[in-house]
Symmetry: D2
Subunit: 366 residues, 4 copies
């Protein structure tokens, strides 16, 4: 993605800048918790935010494996977080120093053709840039370009654990899975993959009252969590066995909506095998390789298959429901660390199954 100069960092000033601690990527397999210059406003539309809560995303682990070549060594990771506005540029009108804000994982300029139609994910001067092509939120401070349209005001007393899950995981599950899958009251929904994103899909699917939500995974702990979060049925299987179980559960009809929440060919295959005529396959997973699409069967099956990088257009609504306690994202938080323990937090999240970790939250208690 070609980005304009708005997003690019200017060379460090020659005057001695204030420093801060941050989680830095140093190439595949290498990360450090170290001193970095504290970010400053570079463009009139920038804000600098002091991070009070951040979290680690599965994408961060992919970056560390070297799967995302657009992330270069030296980059501060992280695209989720809550904080306090520290400084704003002259072009920022909606936020002021001291405001508590939610950071969106998607930066939106608000004026390009994509932003004007609500597709912020493809913003010509934004999109997913934090912790990717500019420095991110796993740090004491972060610079947020286009602050007016990339931050959300939150009440001072709001629950930060819950909010941090609204930066990425909840809008992603909701927009890519539930909205794109067009889940509606009475539907039968299957979610393939019960990791954090699959569980967030499970929680947000219930906003539309499907009559059945089937969770497919092989991790028993995650399936237990799924049941406590409202799954009406669990399928502890993969591949053909999972397909048979879902088909049986739907008396052969297949599901109305199949949500792919892993990102590998095997789980996509399950989705295309279990979707019923007229149904939806909603892809959430980040895929690294092509999949085989069985058009020789599906051409006459009246299905709709969708993909999406989250636009975060639903963030204000999810925020409202969370503040009204009608949505409880914090239920996915299993571990909390101090921000200074970021290295240890990564160790835990990297062994999610063993540690029974879902979302790992980092709090800046300083």
């Amino acid at each position: 993605m070609k980005k304009s100069e708005t997003l690019l960092e200017r060379p460090a000033s020659v005057t001695k800048a204030a420093t801060m601690k941050a989680l830095v990527f140093h190439g595949p397999g290498r990360r450090g918790w170290e001193d970095k210059p504290r970010p400053v406003v570079q463009q009139p539309t920038d804000a600098v935010v002091r991070i009070t809560t951040t979290t680690i995303c599965g994408t961060d682990l992919h970056i560390l494996k070297g799967d995302v070549p657009t992330v270069t060594p030296g980059r501060i990771l992280g695209h989720e977080g809550v904080g306090i506005v520290e400084e704003v540029g002259t072009g920022v009108s909606r936020f002021h120093k001291g405001d508590k804000v939610l950071v969106s994982c998607i930066t939106s300029c608000g004026t390009c053709r994509f932003c004007r139609k609500g597709m912020y994910s493809h913003c010509e001067d934004g999109g997913w840039v934090l912790g990717h092509v500019i420095d991110g939120t796993q740090a004491e401070y972060v610079r947020i370009p286009h602050a007016d349209t990339s931050l959300y005001a939150v009440p001072p007393a709001a629950d930060e654990d819950a909010l941090a899950l609204l930066s990425d995981i909840f809008p992603t599950a909701f927009e890519c899975g539930i909205l794109n899958g067009q889940v509606k009251p009475g539907d039968t929904v299957a979610i393939v993959g019960a990791g954090p994103i699959g569980l967030a899909a499970l929680v947000t699917a219930q906003l539309y009252s499907p009559s059945e939500i089937i969770m497919v995974d092989v991790d028993e702990n995650r399936l237990r969590v799924a049941q406590s979060l409202g799954a009406s049925r669990i399928v502890p299987a993969v591949g053909e066995e999972a397909v048979r179980a879902v088909k049986a559960a739907t008396h052969g009809a297949g599901v109305d909506v199949a949500i792919e929440a892993v990102g590998v060919p095997a789980t996509f295959d399950v989705c295309q095998a279990i979707v019923g005529p007229g149904g939806h396959i909603a892809n959430i997973g980040v895929h690294g390789s092509p999949v085989e699409l069985h058009l020789e069967k599906l051409w006459a099956h009246n299905i709709t298959l969708t993909t999406r990088l989250v636009d975060t257009v639903s963030t204000p609504m999810l925020l409202d429901l969370t503040l009204a306690r009608k949505l409880e994202p914090r239920k996915l938080v299993t571990h909390r660390f101090d921000l200074g323990e970021a290295m240890k937090a990564y160790d835990t999240f990297s062994n999610a199954a063993r540690e029974r970790a879902l979302k790992v939250v980092l709090q800046n208690r300083a």
Copy 2:
């Protein structure tokens, strides 16, 4: 597809039945124009229609190649046509002997769960059955199950050539291509394949006033026809070359809607390479093998991919527009034969490129 007894033919009566001429499939590569018993009403909801105009579909050629194993030897082919009601069962209330009717390629019972939500293609006692699992329309007479919901009344003086194209090809192109592709005013649309179905998509796309329609094919004659039918641009290429040309024509942005109108992996590949972020891939083609879907690129591209067997829910609307002369399906008719020349008509249609054939119409002048 399991069908109830409603559709099945009863054993021939022992009394000598009246006979008729029909085009009969005798296994791969073998067809004949021969005597068959004239159909009679078998169920109260049946009608028998005397065919006055019919046509040959690409699907009929597939059947003759042996690609459709559900068609068994002895079957009368054909699922398109116009005719006069000859006889109705006691349960038929909307049609009477002497009514001129359009035969839908899709039989709909009107009462099953699929019919009640407008998905007639998957009717539990219908769907595509004519010239498939029951005898079809390339004959002097045809039995139509569920006549009330599978026939459409047309004025006695209506143009039969135009109407015959409303049995299948026009609703198919419109529903699978244009409606599913969500073509809207100002869109850039590419149609990959300029055969009859691609050209019908070209004509019906214009109902929504896209700003540009790009036709991709290698048959020069068909591209010339496409231009005369309203294509704003033609791309006489395949594969990577076609992709480059479409990308150039859209200044790199890709198209809003890519319509697959062939049914092979190569044309599907072009579609997934030219669709822009937020765009639609609408599959019309009948595919015989899986395709590779590049989810490793498309997962973040916000695309919608649809498949559909035509439901013919749009038939009344297309009929209205045709009768009002706002739609001119007959422009796709290149050849006309007498019904008795059905064998010769198949020869012509089987060599469509050489014969410059689009739709070949058979008229029963008897």
Copy 3:
């Protein structure tokens, strides 16, 4: 509404017909529980159903007041009910003697242009006819025209109290109020009127997870019930005072959806005063006089106002959710009587406020 002969009753046979008991309208203010001939199949598409549970609707009270001149003396009232199929015509294929069924308040032929697009309310040979222009369900037996598309199969053991509320009140509240109002997650909804239909709207609105549901009424008992059924706020006021309270509750913004659930100008006025820019006014109420629409304010307010006679297209879905216990219509049932006590049941329902009556159910324990 002109109806074809399909719906009309044939003159009573000269042979002595079996009799039954029924609640009969005899002109304004006059009703009786008396002997009537037991209905028989008249058309091949008819079924006769033995009623096991029925209920009284506010519309029945309107009829008794003489507000519905299309109901003529001698008519058996009632358009809601559950029962057992007693007899079917030769054209009925989906139901058989002994099947337990839900009777829809809307009769649908399944083949007319309105039925084919899902607008059964305007069926050319149906619509609301039961207990209106043909005999209804407050009787031991009822004849159901177009049975295949006007009855719904239910399991033998299903809760009849709940089902009886799916004949009319629940689909009406859901389709006219929630679907037409386009309620969506996070919305602020106000329902003006907390009678049975308003409460059914309250219950079904929650299928879409609005963040707030405000109930407006002056009956304290009904508001208490509303709170127990999930209202997030109650406004015990009418007119300007109600408007001020709702405006205050929304910090001046107005509501996303205002649902009119009474049917008089005063409550409609509240709706148009509280709807916010871009909002919806969904009318459920049956109105007897025109209202004043403040276009001088609303022309620039980007609102959508809808009306609807229920189509009952949502009945299968509501039935699924009820059987899955995700929806509990029976919570609105406050009184139960034996069918033979129909006169007393009407007395109770006619004094709904004093009797704290919501839905009054009649059970045929015979």
Copy 4:
């Protein structure tokens, strides 16, 4: 409408400002073509545009009659126009001096909750402000707040007459009439009122290929123009006579979409009398008084009634179609004047019927 300081003009500088000519409102019935200070950038997000083409809107005549009390004496009128960017503030990133631009009649900040959901009409710091609460476009120069999201780039050689009609009248007709009315292929549409806005509705309705468009008006000249612009039928009548004619033309069924394009109770009455079951009434007219809505009939008619102040979200699409010559707004231009003849142009437009004036364009040939 309370607007933030962003829109308000700062007191005139003490240094002698450059002057320009402008059409100034001086209270009901009084206007002048006079010297005014040339506008300058006041906020970083402002642009100053040199007007090359502008036009007069029916709303301007309403203002002159004193119907719009929010317009105060001294205000420069006009909210439509094309021009060249003269100066931009430091916060404007998408436009530069010398760019040719289309001015939108709606100012959009791009960041408020309404703008973020595409409802620019209700922008918290914009909406309709030009020629209303800040100075407008009937002048040599105009200041445009929130320029990045309130101007549209156009090619230097584009036809200015056509473009000037895209500032207001074409998006208004299209969004309030055609999009809100949900016009679709095959529909029967009636447009009540054949003034400029009704004719723009006629032209843009054709983007969706209705099978019939009926124009209702009593001005014979306008009906003739309507025919030349694609009306399939004209009804030279008002009131009950118009209703009877439309009903007859639709064989009693009523229209799918009735578009109100005048703004008085009488034309609204025609619309509610001619809409068929399941149909849409789309209001475009600016109403000064309440109307009587016949809910006693319409409650069961399944209609949708919409109102809207134009959001101009469709402007980019209409611009594309105009540049591609698929839409020809200039056909509505009947008179052209030099900008300096603005007083005479108003005289002509004020006598539209006698002068056979539709759109009157003012060109700044300086």
